[in-house]
Amino acid sequence: MIATLLGEAWQAMLANRLRTFLTALGITIGVAAVVLMVAIGQGTQQKVIGTINSMGANLLIVNSASARSGGVRSGMGGMPTLTLGDVAAIHELAPTLYASPISTGFVQLVYGPNNWNTSALGVNTEYLELRDWRVERGRSFSESDISSATRVVILGQKVVENLFDSEDPIGQVIRVKGQPFTVIGVLSQKGQSMDGRDQDDSIIVPVTTAQRQLLGGPFRTAVGMIMVQAESSASLNSLERQITELLRQRHHIREKAENDFGVTNMTSVAETASEVTGMLSLLLGAIASISLFVGGIGIMNIMLVSVTERTREIGIRMAIGADRRTILTQFLLESIIITVTGGVIGILLGAGLATAIGKLAEIPVHVTAQPILLAFGVSVAVGVFFGLYPARKASRLRPIEALRFQ
C-alpha cells in the first residue's frame, strides 16, 4: 500500500513538474545554506583550535607586566618585570619541565645585497621543544651558546627565501642590526600563527645574545615573557598556582597587591576559542535555518493549494473506500518526497559549494556528516510538519462535500 501511495505521490509530483521543482528548490536552498554555513563554522573552529594547538601542548605563558585581562600580551607594552632569574627559579621548581624566556624585537637583516626586516626571538635551548619546532638543516643552540651569548642565529624559511638566492645559508655570516651573526640552522616550515603572523618570518637567537646585542632599553636585563610546558593538562592548574606563588615571592609582592605579571593557560584559551567558534557555527547554522523554515512554509502553501485543487479527487477516493488515514498518508508522503528530494539535492549542493569555496577563497571549511544527517532529518521533519496541516485538512473532508467541490 505504501509503495502504491509512494508511486501515486510521485505521479502527482510529475503532473506538476514546475511547481514541484520550485517548491523543492526552497528546501534545497535552505538545506544547502545550513550545510554550507555549518561547514564554514566548523572549518573556522578547526583552524583556530589547530593554530592554538600548534603552539605546543599544555602551555602556560607568563607575561611581563600585569595582564589582568588574561589575554596574551607581547610584553613590549608595559615595563618588563620578568628576568632570566625567574626562568631559572621556575626550572628549580619543576626541573623536568621545559621553560623558555622569550624576548622579541624587530631587526634588520643584511646578507650581501639582500636585506630583510623581521622579528627576532631571544630564547633558550628548550624553546624549540616547547613549540614543537624542528631545525630542518644545521643545528640548534647549545647551552654554551646561551651562557656565552654567542652570535649565532637560526632562520625561518621566509627569511631564507628573502636573504639567500640559492646558496646554503648554513655557516654563512649575516648582519643582524649591523652585527655579524653566524647562521647555524634553518627551521622547517610552520605557517601562520594564531594571530595571523607568518611564523616562518622570524629568526631565533640565544636570549642572552638578544639581550646584549639586539634589544635595547629594559630588555637588556629583562625578558618579555616565559613559556612553560606542563606534563599534562591535568597539572596545568596547579602549576599555574605554583608559578604565581613563586613569582610573587621573587617580585616581593605584598599580600593584597596585584601581580606585576600574568599567567595565561593556553589550554583554557583553546577551550574558550573552541566555545566561541562553536557558537559561531551554531549562529551561522541558525541563520541558515531561517531559509529552511521559509522553504517549509513554501511546502505548506503548495500542499494547501494541492489539497484544494484535488478536493474532488479526494472525494472520489473516499467514495471508493479510502479512509482518512490513507488520505493523510498520501498527502504527507507527497510533502515528504518533495522535502527529501530537495533536501538531498541541497546537501549535495551545500557540500559541493563548501568544498569549492574552501578551494577557491581559502576560507577554512569542514564538511562533516553531522550537519548533513541533521539537514536530512530536518528536511524530513519539515515535510512532516508543514505537510501535516494540509494533509489533515484533506483527510478531514466529508466525502460528499469533497465530491460536490467544483
Binding site: 472520489i316 467514495a319 473506500g321
Partner: protein
C-alpha cells in the same frame, strides 16, 4: 429474503444561510437482496440526497439506516470507509474517474484501499474491464474515451471489489439514449447474473423499466413504492 437496506423514518436537513431546509422528511423503505430498484422524482425532490446517504457518503439527520443489519449512524468514519470500499459500489452521473490514471489503474484503485496485492489488482481490473467490453483499453486514459465507455469503466470500478450493493445516481444522465440502453443492459445483466442489489436514480421512464420496483420521491417523501409495471404517475 434478507434486507440489504432498511430505512426507518429517515430525514435529512440542510442548514444554509437562509435557514434549515428539510430535504428528506421521514422516508421508510426496505430493499431486499437481489432487488433492482429505480428511484424517480422531480428535480430537487431529494433523490441524490437519499442516494448519498445510502452510499455512506453523507449521514442522515434523523431516523435510522441499517445496511446489512448494521445501523450506520453508530459507526465511526473508518468503518464507513470500509463499507464504501467493500459492500457498496457507487456509480456517478459524471463518471468521476481520475483523469491522469489509466483505465486499468482507475478500476484497480478501490482494491488498493482493500490492501489487495499489485498483481492481483491488475488481473482483477483487467478482467473486470473485459466484462464491460473494454478489455482492449486497459492502458488508455479516461480523457481519450467516450462518455458511454467512461461509464462502463466506472461500473467496472464499482464491481471490482465484489460489492453486494450497487448505487447509481443518474448513470445514463450524461449519455445519449442508445448508449444509455447499453449501460442499462449491462446493469440488468449484473443484477440477474450476479444477484447484486441495484438501486438507481433516473428521470427517464424507459430507463426505470429495466428495474422491477419503482420508488417515487416527491418533496422528500415517498409518493409511490411498487412494481414498475403498475406505476401510473403521481398526481400533484
Amino acid at each position: 429474503m434478507s434486507a440489504v437496506i432498511q430505512l426507518d423514518a429517515l430525514s435529512k436537513d440542510y442548514f444554509t444561510d437562509a435557514g434549515a431546509v428539510s430535504v428528506l422528511k421521514g422516508v421508510s423503505l426496505t430493499i431486499s437482496r437481489g432487488e433492482f430498484v429505480a428511484i424517480m422524482g422531480p428535480s430537487g425532490s431529494g433523490k441524490s440526497t437519499l442516494m448519498n446517504i445510502l452510499g455512506c457518503l453523507d449521514i442522515p439527520s434523523g431516523g435510522a439506516y441499517r445496511l446489512d443489519g448494521t445501523d450506520i449512524g453508530t459507526l465511526p468514519e473508518s468503518e464507513l470507509a470500509r463499507l464504501r470500499g467493500q459492500v457498496i459500489g457507487f456509480v456517478f452521473q459524471g463518471f468521476n474517474l481520475l483523469p491522469r490514471m489509466s483505465l486499468g489503474n482507475n478500476v484497480a484503485l478501490p482494491l488498493v484501499y482493500q490492501h489487495v496485492g499489485k498483481s492481483e489488482r491488475l488481473t482483477r481490473a483487467a478482467d473486470m474491464l473485459s466484462r464491460v467490453g473494454l478489455g482492449h483499453l486497459v492502458d488508455s486514459l479516461p480523457t481519450r474515451i467516450s462518455g458511454g465507455q467512461q461509464q462502463r469503466v466506472a461500473i467496472a470500478r464499482a464491481l471490482v471489489t465484489r460489492p453486494s450493493l450497487i448505487l447509481a445516481d443518474e448513470p445514463t444522465g450524461n449519455l445519449d439514449s442508445h448508449t444509455g440502453r447499453e449501460i442499462m443492459e449491462l446493469f440488468q445483466r449484473i443484477n440477474r447474473e450476479q444477484g447484486i442489489t441495484l438501486v438507481l436514480v433516473t428521470h427517464d421512464m424507459s430507463v426505470a423499466r429495466y428495474a422491477q420496483r419503482l420508488v417515487y420521491l416527491k418533496d422528500g417523501v415517498l409518493a409511490y413504492d411498487g412494481p414498475v409495471a403498475e406505476f401510473q404517475g403521481v398526481t400533484a
